[in-house]
């Protein structure tokens, strides 16, 4: 009978753990606050060629966009209090070799100086979203900026580490194409995931990286371009990740878990029965 008691205690403890686990399943976390917007861009994995230079490719409409609100650049002079581009929808795709990111945003006029940019941290050091400017207590890293301007008709691959350090890279490996229709710009940027250039962001599927956005409305107002230089719409850092290839080994572990659980049940019942018989 003593043996049985010990065994019953062990059984009770196992049921405790199981019961607690079940309770955890049913006690879900409170839902996040609504209206917070997106926090990450997902670059969807495809087996096909990516729409590297086609902002209106049909595949873009099959991808759920992430949406980020934008603010006037108020972090450093020259500031601006009001901007044209209030938010951006971002879609991404990659095929393991190349990636493409589509920015879609409202801008009522199609102007030569209209421009858009995507910013990334480079390497493992955290960089300030304002051009990787110096931080006082943290050694920061550099940023890689992909800049598209309507009148240039192409992208410029740039680097910066602090104000007034932004420059075009020697190695240009980003392309961009923009299309404006009915008050909306769609600009697609593309690049290989890995470039081998230490000044570039290197994109490894499955790894989270930081990303930020900036936009300029190039409309001419009173003889001058409305938004230029540091006068622009900006976002803070958000996240993006290239979707990793599916990992089927997960299902093997699931089957193993089921077999182990079933085996545990079998031996548990057999043990109790033997205990009762003795």
């Amino acid at each position: 009978m003593g043996y049985q008691k010990i065994f019953n205690v062990a059984l009770g403890l196992i049921l405790t753990v199981t019961g607690a686990g079940v309770s955890c399943v049913f006690a879900s976390d409170p839902p996040p606050e609504s209206g917070a917007g997106s926090v990450a861009v997902r670059l969807h994995l495809t087996d096909d060629a990516i729409p590297a230079d086609d902002p209106n490719a049909a595949v873009w409409d099959t991808i759920q966009p992430a949406e980020f609100k934008l603010a006037p650049q108020v972090h450093w002079p020259d500031r601006i209090q009001e901007v044209t581009v209030k938010s951006v929808k971002v879609r991404g795709i990659h095929n393991g070799q190349d990636l493409a990111i589509l920015l879609e945003y409202a801008d009522p006029s199609n102007d030569a100086a209209d421009a858009a940019a995507i910013e990334f941290m480079v390497g493992d050091k955290m960089a300030h979203f304002a051009h990787g400017q110096e931080m006082l207590q943290v050694e920061g890293g550099a940023v890689n900026i992909w800049y598209w301007k309507k009148e240039d008709g192409k992208a410029t691959d740039m680097s910066a580490k602090g104000f007034k350090t932004i420059r075009a890279q020697d190695d240009q490996n980003v392309s961009a194409t923009g299309a404006w229709q009915d008050g909306t710009w769609r600009v697609v940027f593309s690049r290989p995931l890995q470039t081998g250039d230490e000044h570039d962001v290197q994109v490894t599927p499955g790894e989270w990286r930081n990303v930020a956005f900036a936009f300029w409305d190039g409309e001419i107002v009173d003889g001058a371009v409305k938004e230029r230089g540091s006068q622009k719409a900006v976002s803070s850092w958000w996240y993006f990740r290239a979707e990793p290839p599916p990992d089927n080994s997960i299902y093997g572990y699931v089957v193993l878990g089921i077999v182990l659980a079933a085996g545990f049940q079998f031996f548990l019942v057999r043990k109790i029965r033997r205990g009762n018989e003795s």
Partner: protein, 241 residues
């Protein structure tokens, strides 16, 4: 001690209903991990109570043993037993899947909102008299330099606030400037986001480094204007002693 297992089950269900549905009527909803902890503690307490003597242990564990071995289990009880034996491995498999499946959520960020200031900024007193003139000047400077993000109503809802992550502080919230000394605000305004230590993630902050644009006098007066406008008082050394 009759029906001790049933009593324990009822206790656990009651505890769950209380924590999950009744408590949130009076306070913020509890996270799942905390509910799990409370239920585990409740169960552990019941186990300790029922294992204090051999008799109570048999009373508690007997039904479980009979259920698992199928002793005298017919009808609904028999069906329930089979259901448990099927569901337990399925639950384990499902948990394994949810633990291993790739998540679309970015890594969690534990950002410290009010990190410790550098020593040189600790305990500084506002050198300017808390006069109506100085407060009015501070409010004027606040309107010009701070309100685009922190809002004309000191509520963190200025026209430029919407795009930033983290959002600008709401000074009306008792968890912000009311918890801080004036010297802390002086540090935060003077050095801005880039002056934060690593645990506060300075790379994300849009707060300007105002020392490059504003004299110290203006910063001290802005602090006066902020507290007055938000209807808050700075935390002082006297209160802590």
């Amino acid at each position: 001690m009759k029906g001790s297992l049933a009593k324990t089950v009822i206790l656990l269900v009651g505890m769950y209903v209380f924590l999950k549905f009744i408590l949130p009527l009076f306070t913020a909803p509890l996270p799942a991990s905390l509910i799990f902890l409370y239920l585990a503690l409740t169960l552990a307490s019941a186990m300790i109570f029922y294992t204090m003597s051999g008799g109570s242990l048999d009373e508690f564990m007997g039904p479980i043993g009979r259920f698992l071995t199928g002793t005298g289990q017919t009808g609904i009880a028999g069906t329930a037993r089979i259901l448990v034996f099927v569901l337990f491995p399925v639950l384990v498999g499902w948990q394994t899947y949810t633990r291993l499946a790739p998540s679309d959520m970015p890594p969690a960020e534990n950002r410290t909102i009010h990190p410790a200031p550098p020593g040189e900024f600790v305990g500084l007193a506002n050198p300017y008299e808390r006069s109506q003139n100085n407060i009015m000047m501070g409010k004027g400077l606040y309107a010009a330099f701070c309100s685009p993000c922190h809002g004309a109503n000191f509520d963190g809802k200025g026209p430029a606030a919407v795009g930033f992550n983290p959002p600008p502080a709401n000074f009306g919230d008792p968890g912000t400037i009311a918890q801080l000394q004036e010297s802390y605000l002086f540090w935060r305004i003077k050095k801005g986001g880039v002056g934060l230590p690593v645990e506060a993630m300075p790379w994300k902050s849009a707060m300007p480094r105002w020392e490059v644009e504003l004299p110290d006098e203006w910063i001290w007066k802005i602090i006066m204007g902020e507290y007055d406008g938000a209807g808050q008082s700075p935390r002082t050394w006297e209160e802590e002693e």
